[in-house]
């Protein structure tokens, strides 16, 4: 099915299942601990051995010697795969350094060896007996030091990533009200509950990986490149994923070393990354430095806006682009966005939930708050005054559907924004300074080609198979809802099997495209199946109604089961007509915070998100996505930071005791409201993703609330108390 024009009225506009709050169909497996995650798939291959990865002890340099004799002699050891004895493997998608092989060290905790043993404990103990000596080389580990010399990044088309419209410099110089601020955001780790894990097994030249991966097709292609084998000989299976957040978009060392180790051990090998390797061995969100300048008229109309961004990465490419939302959010005729990238020898930066926008909002939306204060305007009114007609950074483009002003107004009403004191540092309850903050949110609503197979069984059961993944998001359930709706069968009759590369290729889970794309792909397959069923039962054309397990048209009415077992594949692709539109999702985020007048400790009291993302396929799981993202945003605003040691070149706090994420007590009350909107440009279901929208803005709302509470503006995230303690007013 090709989606080549805006969706007209279709069956989802009178839906009975899609759009209704539905408990996860995989919920019982998850809550009873019986959903098998990668490392627990004991039954998929007999005789599994345990692998344990050793990470490099230096950040840059060369392995001069590696003594394996003690480790080889240790109890239970079956095989050791050592980097100096292995040719560097090829690079898969977004591998900036080879995931294994050779003597060169590109970053701290890069995999240098893998011990295979009969038990996990034996493998770990033997790994501790490997003696490696290195020749250290100097590295570049300091973004603030490297940023001033950093070149412009390249866009996808290879052009320098700098865009201008009008004359920013002149308009900014002429603006009666100006704001110029520099913000920084730190490196962050995904800190997903389930670390990367893989079981690998070879049968002849065919490799199977039971793994934890968001993008099955990318993974299959990448493994082919990494090992130099035909991707058709690689199978990935990843039905359950304990969180990814972008950290599992690409093949990482667990999969590569499980494959190499299984070959060396001549039996299946399972590997999970120990927690300390997650931060430095895998990818992370890059730190950024961002400068925002905004010039406005006295009435708040923006005349000039510039957003510049600096980040760094191992290959001098693929940075964190904090400017992404800036061409979309606010009007203004004179514009500049520029994205610079330094080359650093820290571990690899890559996508983490809403790459670019998540940190971009921390700068832009705090800057809007600062500008509002300079103007003496309410920050919501400032945003509404700058609501654009067309996409501000691409004035030839229309918005597919945009209700940001409604989000802001409805949010203000629900949150009690009118009770906010415009003057900071003036509301107090006992020892607590109280403040409210707001931020707008924008995240793209992309779609990717996606396919599925749908099979009707003789008993009327419907099975959906696609290599789509569920990373905790609720894919299983929205796919079942889509199939139930499309074929007119009860939800209980639908089973969904995901994550196997033998199934039709899907969009996978990333970039907030999974929900919209994969359900559209399932719908396409269902349309094919409806046609086949109709043909088999003698119904003409597409007019038949599928309802209550029956097919009905022109006075004829039959049970679907009369069609017998029947199966169809289909996929959705998206036509060029979309290029005339910006398809985005929008939110207004609110936060009320209390700051201890003595100690500066912060306590979020309430958070609210009002979201505009088209049809919400399953409000229950969509809400979970948004509140999870709001928690992550609160973490980014208040505590999360991979601390860089610029001497040794690594992230120091590489475990969950050192890298703090919010606990329940940090997040007492969250509310999520979805506007009842439809986007007919995005897909036949008129639905967009929300999992990343939820992290775009709330962190800035937290920062703005802290300012409102204390009168202190901190521009270096996270906003830990040490950064403003000495500026707090005397407590009494």
């Amino acid at each position: 099915m090709e989606f080549t024009a805006p969706a007209g009225r279709n069956l989802f506009d009178s839906s009975k299942v899609v759009g209704k709050s539905t408990q996860r169909i995989d919920g019982p497996l998850k809550t009873t601990g019986t959903a098998p995650y990668a490392y627990e798939r004991h039954d998929v291959a007999a005789n599994q051995a345990y692998g344990y990865i050793v990470g490099s002890a230096i950040a840059k340099g060369r392995i001069t010697a590696m003594d394996l004799s003690e480790a080889r002699a240790a109890p239970g050891v079956i095989a050791i795969v050592a980097a100096p004895e292995t040719e560097p493997v090829g690079k898969g998608m977004s591998n900036n350094a080879p995931l294994f092989g050779g003597r060169d060290i590109a970053h701290y905790h890069q995999a240098i060896a893998c011990v295979v043993a009969e038990t996990f404990e034996q493998a770990r103990a033997a790994a501790g007996l490997i003696r490696t000596t290195y020749a250290r080389a100097d590295g570049r580990f300091d973004l603030p030091e490297a940023a001033p010399q950093a070149p412009l990044a390249k866009t996808g088309g290879g052009k320098p990533d700098k865009k201008t419209l009008g004359d920013f410099d002149a308009a900014y110089a002429a603006a009666p009200v100006k704001f110029d601020g520099r913000y920084t955001t730190p490196d962050e780790t995904h800190a997903m509950m389930e670390p990367h894990a893989t079981i690998a097994s070879w049968e002849g030249d065919k490799l199977t990986l039971w793994t934890s991966n968001q993008m099955i097709q990318w993974g299959k292609e990448s493994m082919g490149k990494i090992l130099g084998i035909d991707p058709e000989n690689v199978r990935l299976d990843s039905p359950y994923i304990g969180g990814g957040f972008g950290g599992k978009l690409f093949i990482r060392s667990d999969a590569v070393l499980a494959a190499l180790a299984a070959k060396a051990a001549k039996r299946p090998v399972k590997i999970t990354l120990q927690r300390p390797l997650v931060a430095n061995n895998t990818t992370h969100r890059h730190a950024t430095i961002q400068r925002v300048r905004i010039g406005a008229q006295n009435d708040g109309r923006i005349t000039a806006i510039a957003h510049e961004n600096w980040s760094g990465n191992l290959n001098g490419e693929d940075g964190e682009n904090g400017t992404l939302q800036t061409p979309k959010l606010y009007a203004g005729a004179n514009r500049l966005t520029a994205n610079y990238i330094a080359t650093l020898d820290l571990p690899e930066g890559n996508a983490m939930r809403a790459p670019g926008e998540a940190v971009g909002h921390l700068a832009l939306e705090a800057a809007m708050d600062e500008l509002a204060e300079k103007l003496g305007m309410d920050p919501i009114e400032l945003r509404i005054r700058n609501e654009p007609e067309m996409v501000p950074g691409s004035p030839d483009k229309k918005f597919s559907e945009r209700n940001l002003v409604r989000c802001l107004r409805e949010g203000a009403e629900r949150f009690g924004w009118s009770r906010r004191s415009a003057k900071p540092g003036t509301v107090r309850e006992g020892d607590w300074l109280i403040g409210m903050g707001v931020a707008a949110g924008y995240r793209g609503g992309p779609t990717q080609e996606s396919g599925a197979r749908v099979s009707l069984a003789k008993d009327g059961g419907l099975k959906v198979e696609t290599d789509m993944t569920d990373i905790g998001t609720g894919s299983y359930t929205i796919i079942a809802q889509t199939a139930a709706e499309s074929l007119g069968v009860p939800l209980e009759k639908v089973s969904v099997v995901l994550g196997d590369s033998r199934f039709p290729a899907s969009s996978g889970s990333g970039g907030q495209w999974g929900a919209a794309s994969s359900t559209a792909g399932v719908y396409a397959a269902c349309v094919e199946l409806r046609r086949k069923i109709g043909e088999k039962l003698g119904f003409a054309g597409d007019d038949a109604v599928f309802e209550n397990g029956r097919i009905r048209a022109g006075g004829k009415d039959m049970a679907l089961t009369e069609a017998g077992a029947i199966s169809a594949e289909g996929s959705i692709s998206f036509g060029d007509f979309k290029s005339g539109y910006d398809v985005g999702t929008y939110a207004a985020h609110f936060c009320e915070i209390a700051v201890d007048a003595y100690t500066g400790e912060t306590r979020i009291r309430r958070m609210l998100a009002v979201c505009d993302a088209g049809r919400i396929l399953n409000p229950l799981s969509a809400r979970s996505q948004v509140i999870g993202a709001m928690v992550m945003a609160a973490g980014a605003a208040l505590m999360e930071e991979l601390a860089v040691d610029t001497r040794f070149g690594f992230f120091v706090n590489h475990d969950l005791a050192g890298y703090e994420v919010p606990v329940h007590a940090d997040i007492p009350h969250q509310e999520v409201v979805f506007l009842d909107t439809l986007d007919d440009i995005v897909s036949p279901l008129k639905a967009k993703g929300v999992g990343e929208l939820g992290i775009c803005g709330p962190g800035a709302a937290v920062a703005n609330a802290i300012y409102n509470a204390t009168g202190i503006r901190v521009r270096d995230y996270p906003l830990t108390l040490d950064k403003y303690l000495d500026r707090l007013p005397e407590p009494v």
Binding site: V661, A665, L721, L725, V732
Partner: protein, 316 residues
């Protein structure tokens, strides 16, 4: 984790003898810290002597009107004890400010005193660390030191003692009772129990090899208002940036100890005498010899402001 042998002792003296008699042997209590350290090969005992069957799991009243807390009393049981809650509330509050319910169920009184630093360089075996591997240097001194000590440090080590319970024990003037392999016992004032690093940061405390903690004795109740205030980057399940344990009397005098700032619970009795003059008077004296880093100098301001909050609370 290296392979090790394991035995379960049935009496304190047997346990002490078993550890004293074998090089590389260690006691195993609740295991909430030791097992993690073994997995990272920061601790590599060759033999573990499990003490869970040796008794010492009661809280008894002493002839002097205080309490003797058995070494194996769990943190949960100690914090919940009615006598502790009534007469030594600072201790209950300190314990529940630490770790999680699950960990407190398993962690013991003696083990809590023996928990090791959370310095991130101590936790990464690739990094130089004089506490983990004497003579290798200290990566923390010029490194990421935000959580680390501002006072009581040396050129060899700036690690912080991470616990909460011991900070409360310090204001209560508790004593640590031990037994050695030969049956000799001694009582160590809590003030002398933890060591400053000096030239031997690998030694966290004054215990001799094989010396087993049998209990902690609290002197008779001292009245006053008991406060434990722990400041951290998130609301629970985190180590203190700064904590304050205080017992403040109606006349404004009292006792105060600080956690999260030094290699041991930090109490300065001369500085404490200034309590009636307020937080600044106490902290400026107690931290007069502080040597903070750029990353952690905020702890001194935070100690003062936290103590001010504690004093205000005690007065209210």
């Amino acid at each position: 984790m290296r392979a090790f042998t394991y035995q379960r002792a049935t009496s304190p003296r047997e346990a002490a003898a078993a550890v004293a008699g074998k090089r590389g042997a260690m006691f195993l209590g609740g295991g909430t810290n030791l097992l993690d350290l073994m997995k990272l090969e920061i601790e590599v005992p060759t033999h573990l002597v499990d003490v869970q069957d040796i008794g010492l799991d009661a809280i008894e009243e002493t002839d002097e009107g205080g309490l003797r807390i058995g070494a194996l009393v769990s943190n949960t049981a100690l914090a919940a004890d009615a006598r502790v809650r009534r007469d030594y509330a600072v201790l209950s509050r300190a314990i529940v400010a630490g770790a999680s319910g699950q960990l407190r169920n398993k962690a013991t009184t003696a083990g809590n005193l023996l928990q090791r630093t959370r310095c991130p360089y101590f936790y990464d075996p690739n990094m130089p660390c004089n506490k983990r591997k004497p003579g290798t240097g200290c990566a923390a001194i010029e490194g990421y030191s935000r959580q680390l000590a501002v006072i009581g440090t040396s050129d060899k080590c700036i690690a912080t003692y991470p616990g909460d319970m011991a900070v409360a024990l310090r204001v209560l003037d508790a004593e640590v009772e031990t037994i050695k392999a030969d049956g000799a016992t001694r009582s160590i004032p809590i003030a002398d129990f933890h060591r400053l690093p000096g030239d031997a940061p690998e030694r966290d405390n004054v215990l001799e090899p094989g010396e087993l903690i049998t209990g902690v004795v609290l002197p008779g109740p001292i009245g006053g208002t008991h406060v434990y205030r722990k400041v951290r980057d998130r609301r629970s399940y985190a180590f203190a940036l700064v904590s304050v344990a205080a017992v403040i009397q109606d006349d404004g005098t009292g006792r105060v100890a600080f956690g999260g700032v030094a290699p041991k619970p930090w109490r300065d009795e001369a500085a404490e005498a200034a309590l009636p003059q307020g937080a600044k008077a106490v902290v400026s004296r107690a931290f007069a010899k502080a040597r903070p880093s750029e990353h952690n100098k905020f702890k001194i301001t935070l100690a003062e402001r936290t103590l001010a909050a504690v004093i205000a609370k005690a007065r209210s």
